[in-house]
């Protein structure tokens, strides 16, 4: 997308895919949130996948930012799926008390895409 955002965003049909690099600082996450919402509007996207496979720490800030991202995108009528939360990361998140409520999650990119396609079919 634009160079201000260091997180690459790909477009596949009506779905945007953002892949987080390891050790992404907070500012980049906040920028990604803003950029993705803008991009969903611009591209008339119906779905967003955020791939966090490379993320080794998901703290309360990161988790809250991703939740906000999903909520904002939902207000635009599109769906967000977080994919690739690593088992160790999931364990730490639960210990910390982070729930990621109301956000769809899937095992990996493929499962995330399948989830969105099912959603698109049911909503017509």
């Amino acid at each position: 997308m634009r160079d201000a955002v260091e997180i690459p965003v790909l477009r596949q049909g009506s779905v945007l895919i953002a892949t987080l690099r390891p050790a992404v600082p907070d500012v980049d996450l906040v920028r990604l949130r803003t950029a993705l919402v803008e991009e969903v509007v611009r591209m008339r996207s119906r779905g967003v996948i955020v791939d966090v496979t490379a993320i080794d720490v998901m703290d309360s800030f990161a988790s809250r930012t991703l939740q906000e991202l999903a909520q904002m995108i939902r207000l635009r009528g599109a769906e967000t799926v977080i994919v690739g939360i690593q088992p160790d990361v999931a364990f730490a998140m639960v210990q910390l008390g982070l729930r990621m409520e109301d956000v769809a999650t899937a095992l990996d990119l493929e499962e995330g895409m399948a989830y969105l396609n099912r959603k698109f079919q049911t909503s017509g």
């Binding site: 600082p25 907070d26 500012v27 080794d56 160790d88 982070l98």
Partner: protein, 134 residues
């Protein structure tokens, strides 16, 4: 041998540096990847509190190779910020003054084995936590 690494915390980039430092010390002490993730996550929360509430401070990461061949890692988060008015309240789940989720300190406490906090109004806060090797 006790080695201490100090990471100054002033911005969100320093938070990343601090948790990477914690992870590499934990890995060097042969903590499991899962335990190293818990340690890195605890550091992230503690460092974020510094940035949010005190603006600056430091994280100290120390390898503990104590007696009885017990190995652990000690994390100290220190700042000279505004301090916490009611520590008891801050340790309760669901409490926050910054509009965040308020999971910070109680959450961190669940990630580690020992947890200690000292805070004085307008003098600062020091949180000391220890994780022992399982």
């Amino acid at each position: 041998m006790e080695k201490e690494i100090r990471v100054p915390i002033r911005s969100d980039r320093d938070i990343v540096t601090a948790r990477q430092t914690g992870r590499s010390v934990a890995t060097a002490l042969s903590f499991t990847p899962g335990e190293a993730t818990l340690i890195a996550t605890a550091i992230s929360e503690l460092a974020r509190n510094i940035v949010t509430y005190a603006k600056e401070g430091e994280i100290r990461v120390k390898a503990l190779n104590g007696g009885a061949s017990r190995t652990g890692i000690q994390l100290v988060a220190h700042d000279q910020g505004p301090g916490i008015a009611d520590v008891e309240q801050a340790l309760r789940d669901g409490f926050s003054t910054s509009g965040s989720l308020g999971l910070g300190l109680p959450g961190v406490r669940r990630l580690v084995d020992e947890f200690q906090i000292e805070s004085e109004r307008n003098r600062g806060t020091t949180v000391t936590v220890t994780k022992w090797k399982g």
